[in-house]
Subunit: 242 residues, 2 copies
Amino acid sequence: MIQVSPTFSPLYRQIKTLMLQSLAGGQWRPGEAIPSESELAQRFSVSQGTVRKAVDELAAENLLVRKQGKGTFVASHNDPRAFFRFLRLTALEGEMGQSRSVPLECWRAKAGPEAARVLGLNLADSIIVVRRVLEFSDKPVVLDEIYLPGNTFAGISLDELKTWQGSLYSLFESQFGVRMVRAEERLRAVAADRVSAEILGVAEGAPLLSVERVSYSYADKPMEWRRGLYSTASHAYINQLG
Amino acid sequence: MIQVSPTFSPLYRQIKTLMLQSLAGGQWRPGEAIPSESELAQRFSVSQGTVRKAVDELAAENLLVRKQGKGTFVASHNDPRAFFRFLRLTALEGEMGQSRSVPLECWRAKAGPEAARVLGLNLADSIIVVRRVLEFSDKPVVLDEIYLPGNTFAGISLDELKTWQGSLYSLFESQFGVRMVRAEERLRAVAADRVSAEILGVAEGAPLLSVERVSYSYADKPMEWRRGLYSTASHAYINQLG
DNA sequence: GAGTGGTCTAGACCACTGC
DNA sequence: CAGTGGTCTAGACCACTCG
């Protein structure tokens, strides 16, 4: 009859929350192993099965990676298997070929109203803007414009971007301690403006795929706003619907 | 030293395979409850925990739906919660408004080389082609052209499509016993041709989002090939990256 | 109250890794 | 070999639904 404990939370979720705090707080760093299941069970005074269920969920969310016989590790964008975690691109015919990121510009600015809203900043706060091209087989395919909170990513420079070998997200993780956990994208079809058309090697007014992305760090904190223009003449954005 | 049993498969996966056969074979029908965990445990001579793990995976793949206190049910496109399972559309501003599917045409044809390849048919086999418009708030947003294997969907007609209240997938499930389980999409930006532009109410040559989708039934059998043209003037395709 | 799924425990054993 | 995650069991109890 009477509804009790509407805030009931099972033990394994409380354990999961504690583990999330260790991740967000930086006690467990990307690429490193976390304590073994039996040790965590002791530490939290629960059975191993309960810890296991918490780890199961964190692994399903790609925050942890289990490796039988070795241990459980904090997921990292440096892991080659996670290199293109957020890039859903395929070649219409043949292979993708070698990929290369070509940074074009990098400057500081005051947050505009849209960037401020999306990133949860004040209009007075500074942001970093990066423009870069993604090439496949030496042909430009994606033109990205990336907005980052200036405080967290202070000191980033065009030189550093040009020097870095690896994905932007692995740079964010290694150099600034920011690990992107998930992202939301909005896709639209737009007409190429003159500048973008030239950079991507298409005609002005040609249809381009516009991909707006907001990336979130551990505590669902938005840490990156990005707009990509994809030339889909010889590539396509792929998606799995489950 | 020596690698043994490369084909090792845990018990719960074998149980899962058996359950999948009951789903694909039609013994368990969409919307109905499957036997309780304890009964399945008895039937398969395993512990309840092992059945549970099999059900967990099937539920994670959206093939089953658990309802505490009531039972476990076969997922169905008739379930209102699954109505827009494969439609990733949102309004740029405000609400989506009322949706309506307007069938335009429906005819039989011989499978072209592309449809035959995608659907695993011979060139001699017949297919059904459906064209329809999706409207939101009485404005056309998506123009779909849908290709179905003629044998399975024999007898489908424009009248039936016009009469049906509900999603196409719920019609496929209810009238033809075909439940789509997952789908793969390829997105590109294209220029509107004259006919599509008129139907969608945009200028000829305007950028449209092209969404090609292959939908699969239980045994990973491709059962639908669909190409949608999305007008993204006031709507966007949304995607979650985990 | 009976039946369902959901949680938690304790213990045994298997599969894999690396020293 | 010891240590890790992975599987499986048996049993107890909790939360929820329905008649």
